[in-house]
Assembly symmetry: C2
DNA sequence: CTTGGAATGTCAACAAAGCTGACTTAATAT
DNA sequence: ATATTAAGTCAGCTTTGTTGACATTCCAAG
């Protein structure tokens, strides 16, 4: 434990501590995606579909370009995912009113239902982890994750909250 | 909504808080892998090679079976990665002394050098994040990540440390 | 009004990294 | 002896990413 701050105790910055953090990220991310993945495996969708639906649910009416920036993939890759979701009636794509080049994406009823199902599974694990660790640990968790992001991603991460009305 | 219990404050368990945590994991993981990925993109290797080398570096002499369990992939998938690493002289595979069916994996000089390069890049980001967040936040970060793991993975996560001699 | 550039969509081809299933070889365990 | 285990291999498939080329639509600047 990093205690006794004579001046500063930097033991938490040793290579060994960092390696453990790296491994913790690896193993935890597996858990993080495991539950939605299990659900998705039973249908014709994958993690990419989940991600798209998550951010459409989060920012209804978002544009394709915005989603591209958030997800950090090429439009061809996103388009493939989006096309199947639209074809299957889970996502709706509406031509923009001010700028008719843009497409605004929203979840249909069915899309929202699936998103909720996936989200519920993922949140259940998250909730259990949060509850087990306690509020102070959660605050630290969030701090470290934020510091780990690329600056662009950190901006987008905050932008999502700010766009909430 | 989980609102103000009498004693405990459970505001950190609201769906909104959990969603933010989920998004933080997503964006942070991207940052987490970004630096090694950039290095790997310049050679014929990918993230899978990095992961294999990481855990071989961590547990020198580990067996293929053990690595399979840690990485959570099929032997066919791991074998493809391992084969190229062995062919390129980054990993050495030695027949076991007690059980000759087993292959014990170790990094060669060149393998260790590449692993160090990738690891340095990843640790640099981790160190910056840790330093920015502080030791208490780091402790919380670790606690939440650990609580998020599948029990099997949590065992393995600890086993790696215990196997350190 | 025309034209340049941005936003979107689409086609084709390809690569990384996962998967299943079937099978071999060698060595250990029963 | 036989069954099981560890490792490796072959073939084929899926998901999800990538480039590059190209068409369409539409806003905005000249």
């Amino acid at each position: 434990m990093a205690e006794m701050r004579g001046g500063e105790n930097l033991l938490f910055l040793t290579d060994e501590q960092l390696r453990q953090g790296i491994e913790a990220m690896f193993f935890a991310y597996r858990g993080f995606t495991a539950d939605p993945d299990r659900i998705l495996a039973t249908m014709a969708y994958g993690r990419a579909h989940h991600r798209a639906m998550h951010f459409i649910a989060r920012s209804p009416g978002t544009t394709v370009n915005n989603l591209l920036a958030i997800l950090g993939v090429t439009k061809q890759s996103l388009n493939r995912v989006l096309r199947t979701l639209i074809e299957d009636g889970l996502v709706e794509s509406c031509v923009g009113s001010t700028d008719k080049r843009e497409r605004h994406l929203t979840l249909t009823e069915a899309g929202a239902a699936l998103e909720r199902k996936l989200s519920d599974a993922q949140r259940a694990r998250m909730r259990a982890a949060y509850r087990a660790a306690g509020p102070q640990a959660v605050a630290g968790f969030r701090q470290v994750l934020e510091a780990m992001m690329d600056p662009d991603m950190r901006r987008r991460y905050h932008a999502i909250r700010e766009s909430e009305t």
